[in-house]
């Protein structure tokens, strides 16, 4: 397990390399360390409009580096409650601290049953290992 592919325990993961953390009624979403490493220096994040509705594994936002752009998918269906506006001036937060200050959005009004469709850290690490 290389350092770059670290995936902390206690989070949910998607195969598209998003992570999700349940915090009470909210679900915080971000990009995994693997994803930020693949993208390289992130230059821009197109965040969704607050109050917009998203569907599980539907396109939620776009992150851009100099040479690529990647769609970010919503791990759960729900409503965008808050977006990380700090990313507007400092998209590099995703590269620096993807599981912390580099979070993307907070979802509310989601269906916990959909958590079943996500991976835990161990399963995600396995996916990473298979990908090699």
């Amino acid at each position: 397990m290389s350092e770059v592919k670290k995936a902390p325990e206690g989070l949910y993961y998607t195969k598209e390399h998003e992570w999700l953390r349940v915090e009470g009624d909210l679900a915080v979403v971000g990009l995994t360390d693997f994803a930020q490493d693949q993208l390289g220096d992130i230059t821009y994040v197109e965040l969704p409009e607050p109050e917009s509705e998203v569907e599980q594994m539907g396109e939620m936002c776009v992150v851009e580096s100099v040479k690529t752009a990647a769609d970010v998918y919503a791990p759960l269906s729900g409503v965008v409650v808050e977006v990380n506006s700090a990313l507007g001036d400092a998209p590099e937060l995703i590269n620096q601290d993807c599981y912390g200050a580099g979070w993307l959005v907070k979802l509310g009004d989601f269906d916990r049953a959909e958590l079943e469709n996500l991976m835990d850290a161990a399963a995600y690490r396995l996916l990473m290992a298979e990908g090699e």
């Binding site: 220096d41 230059t43 821009y44 851009e64 580096s65 100099v66 040479k67 998209p91 590099e92």
Partner: protein, 490 residues
């Protein structure tokens, strides 16, 4: 270098305007109501002609064109552009001609020369491609693609077909999927096998929903797809339209025609195949040709001949998709391509393809000692190498190779495209580079390969001979500065 705005000095000017000589009461500006006027003049530069001429001359010296040296930028066909075609485009009878003139009653008689250029170019392009009719309207290659997809849509609509998908191989130019998507289609990518679109995978994706298939042949790897007949026949059975991206037509002139290969629509990049200058990114021209079943849908107007031999603009094509450009295309570019084709003639064009293919294969073989060819078999007009081994062994990427070539005095090949080859270097030498230029390029690539093994750091530092080194594109994208601030040169 300072910008033209920074060189501005209050009160300086270059403008030389005629005197009005009409009565002062006609001066309208002071009578213009304030709510219709801008508050203050635009802060354009205030410079003398000599300041401006030196500024842009100095800038030109910070640029590299085919006139300066070898420019093997894959897929872009950077061949030499003969100068007499420029002279032709500047003839006052062409350059000064207002496009609305032939739309006036009897005005067409005063534009017969220009209409003849359009008409005769159409006949030549029909012969070169085997198509039944052409429109000169599309203003660039990608614009031709969009026009072609619109023609495809009009055809299916007319036939009552419900089709929503366009198939595109994974090696396609980015413009192909973008054009199809912008015209309202869903794009489905077909994987390649052994460098070309796989007919088996193609047939798996082909169904009644497929409106058309966009292909380049030879493709962006410089490989001719030998399964092309199988692909076009299957597509036609599903009533899908075969679209030929003519970006690489320069490889097969005289040997094969898109219509004979089974294609229904073709766009040509006149600026590539027929040697008109690329202008630092444009203008180009992207005429579109079609087989008979699509002729009714071509944009209007079309240049047609009357019984007496005179030419006129015919707008009376009720099934036409309409206008894709205001007039008759990038006429100036079409005129240069026309002059180019006239000069070369049939045999000359065939030689263009032969020499382009020969040069690419020469590089394939000669560079093969030190560089890994993506698909090592005879190629057409271009050849793709991969720097993947250099990246793995020495940490030297395709980008490093490109930058090192700049220091060697060459324009680099296309890098990181096509996407199907990692660390790709896509090289298109074109037919106009003499053997000694190809050998010089081979020698430079050899030195770079040696340096990759011996002194990779030197390659990371390249280029060192240019006015600026590698620019921090990340910072430029994070905090875009896209214009001179207003207080500068105000």
């Amino acid at each position: 270098m300072k910008t033209i705005f920074e060189k501005s000095r209050p009160g300086r000017r270059a403008a030389s305007l005629p005197c009005s000589r009409v009565d002062e009461r006609f001066c309208q500006l002071s009578q213009l109501p304030p709510e219709l006027r801008r508050e203050k003049p635009a802060e354009l530069p205030e410079v003398a002609e000599i300041d401006l001429v030196r500024h842009y001359t100095l800038l030109s010296r910070m640029n590299f064109g085919v006139d300066v040296g070898t420019y093997p930028l894959g897929s872009c066909t950077m061949k030499y552009n003969p100068k007499f075609t420029e002279w032709a485009a500047r003839l006052p009878g062409f350059a000064g001609l207002h496009p609305l003139l032939p739309q006036l009653r009897r005005g067409g008689l005063l534009a017969q020369g220009a209409l003849r250029v359009v008409y005769e170019l159409e006949q030549l392009l029909k012969q070169i491609t085997g198509m039944d009719a052409f429109t000169m309207q599309p203003l660039a290659g990608a614009h031709g693609e969009l026009t072609g997809i619109m023609l495809m849509a009009a055809y299916h609509k007319d036939k009552g077909n419900q089709k929503s998908i366009v198939l595109v191989p994974d090696s396609a130019h980015g413009t192909n999927p973008a054009s199809a998507a912008i015209a309202g289609y869903q794009v489905v990518t077909v994987p390649s096998k052994d460098g070309v679109m796989d007919p088996v995978a193609f047939k798996e994706k082909l169904n009644d929903e497929v409106a058309g298939v966009m292909m380049t042949n030879p493709n962006t790897l410089g490989l001719f797809n030998p399964h092309i007949a199988e692909i076009t026949e299957a597509a036609h059975r599903a009533d899908a339209i075969m679209y030929y991206d003519g970006a690489n037509l320069n490889a097969i002139m005289g040997y094969a025609k898109p219509a004979d290969l089974g294609f229904d629509i073709v766009h040509l990049n006149l600026h590539k195949t027929f040697g008109t200058p690329h202008g630092g990114g444009g203008p180009g021209a992207g005429p579109v040709g079609v087989v008979e079943k699509l002729m009714d849908y071509l944009p209007i107007s079309r240049v047609e001949m009357r019984a007496d031999g005179t030419l006129f603009l015919n707008y009376d094509h009720p099934n036409s998709i309409g206008y894709v450009a205001p007039f008759y295309g990038n006429f100036g570019v079409c005129l240069k391509a026309f002059a180019y084709i006239l000069a070369l003639g049939g045999e000359g064009l065939k030689e263009v393809s032969e020499d382009a293919v020969l040069a690419a294969n020469y590089l394939r073989v000669k560079l093969g000692d030190k560089w890994e060819v993506a698909f090592n078999r005879p190629c057409m007009h271009e050849v793709v190498f991969s720097a993947e081994d250099k990246a793995a062994d020495y940490g030297v990427s395709a980008l490093d190779v490109a930058k090192a070539l700049i220091d060697e005095g060459f324009h680099p090949p296309t890098v990181y495209f096509p996407l199907v080859v990692k660390e790709s270097l896509m090289i298109e030498p074109t037919e106009t580079e003499a053997l000694e230029n190809l050998d010089a390029f081979i020698a430079a690539m050899g030195r770079i390969a040696d340096k990759a093994a011996g002194d990779p750091e030197a390659l990371h530092a390249a280029p060192i001979t240019t006015p600026v080194g590698r620019l921090d594109e990340v910072a430029a994208a994070r905090h875009p500065v896209l214009k001179e601030p207003e207080d500068q040169g105000a």
